[in-house]
Amino acid sequence: MAQTLAEKIIARAAGRAAVTPGEIVTCRVDLAMVHDSSGPRRLAPMLERLGVGVWDPDRLVVITDHFVPAFDAASAAIQALTRDWVAAAGVRNFYDMQGVCHIVLPERGHLRPGLFVVGGDSHSCTGGAFGCFMFGVGATDMAGVLATGETWIRVPETIRLRWSGRLGRGVAAKDMMLALCARLGMDGGGYQVIQYDGAAVTELPMAERMTLCNMAVELGAQTGLIAPDATTADYLRDVGAELDGEAGDLARWQSDPDAAYRTTLDFDAGALAPQVAAPHSPANAAPVGEIGPVAVDRAYIGACTGAKLIDLRMAAEVLKGRKVARGTRLLVAPASARAAEQAAAEGTLEVLTEAGASILPTGCGACAGYGGALLAEDEVCIASTARNFKGRMGATSSRVYLASPYTVAAAAVTGRIGDPRELLDGAAP
């Protein structure tokens, strides 16, 4: 029977030859990931109550990113608890303040095609860029996984989003996702799987593919998925991921040509303009020209969605030789320590700081609204992050616009929202 990639991975994890959308199956979990907020501080009491430890400590990755750096005694205590628990539980895969979990996990070679992975964070769908079925769960669900090594899943249908053409200059994967949020709505995914393919997707580097899958949750999907190809294999080889056996069999981890989709939608990447989502929903997105020259107090490059090395490079392309506008602040929180390190080595970071950017610690930072760099009442921010819900990044009356790193950087330079292509095409003033 013809199967989608998602069905193949779920069937393997369920120990079945095939699965059918709608049925409820129990899957063996290949890998679990948690961070400091949803992780040990919530999991430990539950495991203690059950009187069990982690089913397989080598299949658990713990990453601190939400309370990084600790900003008061309470957040410092959460960090300390995390470190102590990791040591006591014998978890060897622990990355402390090395970046946002969704970036660190693949960077350190933990993801590979065909894996069934659960993450204790909603943007865990980012892992789908590597051809694994990875989805976000809450802490109690995760405690169940750690106690038993299993979880249940209602086999989702697959929605196929096929992108032809090629992104224009100054247009990025983030723009594709904002356009999809506007077109499909934040529940368009209906907790099914979104499979991205087509020439425009094939052409994207892994970091941009990660942005597509990252925001699958903003479409209401259980996860996003991109079939592995030579680009995937190159990335995995570079980070030293294990590609022996099943994971290296790229031909197996593809949707069959006659697989059944819930629906297939076609898009033209070449026709896409930079997009901006107005407050308070990613679905309020429109081409930048329709948004108007809104003045911004802050431009923010950050988060798993928008501060990978490639995102920092996009911002630098716009900022090179320019200065942040008077009255506007540019804050940059690189998504991982490695991204920051590479950006420093190649001079990208210097371009940002010379333009006047403040560099924040690597981590979830202002995006999650946990404590650092919150917005004041009525402040307006444009961010390369994934969510602009009311009050998320600070005061209830603050207003957050979402855009690509190009568009965020352009707003930092001019002090208002506008088309970044005008700055990319022209010479620096």
């Binding site: 949803s38 059950l50 769960v137 809450g138 529940d187 907790y191 259980q222 929903s281 819900f389 009050g391």
Partner: protein, 177 residues
């Protein structure tokens, strides 16, 4: 239902009505995540209804539109409703992670296409097993989607951890005999 279940054939409660896309930041704001969940509960939904957390009574119902609970995987978004004593969340659709979290914590989440007919403070009575929501204020009856059996079992057990606790105990008991 088992003898210690909360009994979805519950008594009447008042409706607290919200629109589409109630997100997890509105339910459990990020800036309260570092503290105890009870503290976050006091701020539940405050940015859309400042009266809610202070005035909701045990047994009341939270009524949503489409895509209730979208956003973060933080289960505190469901847990704060448990702490406030909400009997069930009834919505046209739920975000997937919130839906799983609710049942894992013993909070009933029920799909009902007709939540738009419910007014604030209407008195409601829900029979989740039968899939019937009665509006005692208007006299209307709304059909709800049946809750899958394995999720009703989670509610009966009081959530995933009590369910697993029971499973492990019975396994240990068998091994011991």
């Amino acid at each position: 239902m088992t003898e210690n279940g909360p009994g979805p054939n519950s008594q009447a409660g008042r409706a607290w009505v919200f629109g589409d896309n109630i997100d997890t930041d509105v339910l459990a704001p990020g800036r309260y995540m570092k503290g105890p969940v009870e503290a976050a509960a006091a701020h539940c939904l405050e940015s859309v209804d400042p009266d809610f957390a202070g005035q909701v009574a045990p047994g009341d119902f939270v009524i949503g539109g489409g895509n209730f609970g979208l956003g973060s995987s933080r289960e505190q978004a469901a847990q704060v409703l448990c702490i406030l004593g909400v009997a069930a969340v009834i919505a046209k659709s739920f975000a997937g992670i919130f839906y799983r979290n609710a049942f894992n914590l013993g909070l009933l989440a029920v799909l009902c296409p007709e939540t738009g007919r419910i007014d604030a403070r209407d008195r409601l009575a829900l029979d989740a097993e039968a899939g019937v929501l009665r509006n005692l204020s208007s006299g209307e009856r709304y059909a709800c989607e049946p809750v899958p059996a394995h999720l009703l079992a989670l509610i009966a057990d009081g959530g995933l951890i009590p369910q697993l606790e029971r499973r492990f105990k019975s396994r240990a008991g068998k091994e011991g005999s």
